[in-house]
Symmetry: C2
Subunit: 237 residues, 2 copies
């Protein structure tokens, strides 16, 4: 249909794409330096970076801040309905998950969190920030906000583990109804910093508000995913 303009950027994209598809650049492999690539394609770094940015938007390559460009690994499939926890989900897909605890403490809740958990103004909540990796690559920055009333003494637990597992083992709490909200947007600074991506890169923001088996609102999660690390599945009806 369209006359297909002979754009330099498009040509570079196609050339790189072909190399990746034919396996000359393996998943996880590093691309040559930008200056080297701009010589190869006989163009400027600005133009070359434009092409890299497009492949990044497609999720085919990704960037580690100041370290260079890499071929993106396969996405993780995230099933909204049959929610196993992160480590199990990753393991079931033949990958290795790790979790790093960034911070955990009791603090006053923001207005937004109060509203989500239906708490009165200025309530205290337990805030747990964690970074999660798949095969060593940071893919998810998550903030958990727990209603402290249901989880006395949780700060003494090992919070790099699955929270779901601690909920059940220590408090006898299981998830009941869960509400999701999925928002494609740029990653905020905290998330971008933790994931080592440049601020303003596209990402996926998932908010989960969780009730327990008795219908009490127990906690909510703010998850920030690399946009290229995830595929969401759901079944309805």
């Amino acid at each position: 249909m369209q006359p297909m303009p002979p754009r330099a950027v498009t040509a570079i994209c196609h050339a790189l794409l072909e190399q990746i598809e034919h396996g000359l650049l393996a998943p996880g492999g590093k691309l040559p330096a930008e200056r080297k690539l701009s010589e190869v394609f006989d163009t400027t770094r600005i133009t070359l970076r434009e092409a890299l940015a497009q492949l990044e938007a497609q999720g085919l390559i990704y960037r580690e801040e100041r370290r260079g460009w890499f071929v993106a690994p396969e996405r993780l499939t995230y099933d909204l309905i049959e929610r196993s926890h992160f480590h199990a989900m990753v393991r079931d897909q033949g990958r290795v998950a790790t979790t790093e605890l960034l911070s955990a403490r009791l603090q006053p809740a923001s207005a937004a969190i109060c509203a989500r958990l239906q708490l009165p103004a200025l309530s205290s909540v337990v805030r747990i920030c964690r970074l999660r990796r798949i095969d060593g690559r940071a893919v998810l920055y998550a903030e958990h906000y727990l209603n402290p009333r249901y989880f006395p003494g949780i700060l003494e637990q090992d919070l790099a583990q699955s929270l779901t597992e601690i909920y059940g083992r220590v408090y006898g709490i299981r998830y009941g109804q869960v509400c999701f909200e999925i928002l494609p947007t740029a990653l905020p600074v905290e998330a971008a910093g933790a994931l080592k991506v440049s601020v303003g890169s596209p990402g996926l923001h998932i908010t989960r508000v969780n009730s327990d088996q008795h219908g009490h609102l127990i906690d909510c999660d703010l998850e920030y995913w690399r946009h290229d690390a995830i595929r969401i599945r759901a079944q309805a009806g």
Copy 2:
């Protein structure tokens, strides 16, 4: 925490953000020309465009190909579970929806579509391409693939209407189980062209595979949304 580098790009973002938040630029309003803005902020167009791209990634402004930059309207909330059809969903949120039929015909199915609909190789399917707008802004490019066996003569219907409604009225078919797959990625050329966005802009790709009330796979939709036009909701458990 971080020393907050005095980046030109960040400074411009904040300045524009403030103007938007204080309503000096109304939703749908047009921003000044890029050259004008780069003068205002005393920088080059490249740098200024970098800032605009970041705000675009956040979904705060958007671009119409060759027409300029505009302040983004509120997102549409898309509920995965209680799926009313597009026009009803938009109307319920106080907006106006329109649908434009781009093409509709019987054609051989691609391998991917055959797999989704569990059809034998080289089956024919009805392919319907449509463009949907909210308040006049193109937000969704959708391709529907129907198993023709369940929809004889559907090409004679008015396909700018709700398909859900035609299914029920003409064929006595209602949706049963539905599978979703949500993928943040760059918009492919057909979608980008129809939505009038530059190729390679981020978007949200939603695949729906629909069964009817008897469990037959009747059709599947490939939806391509502007990343800034949508917020997805779901409830589970």
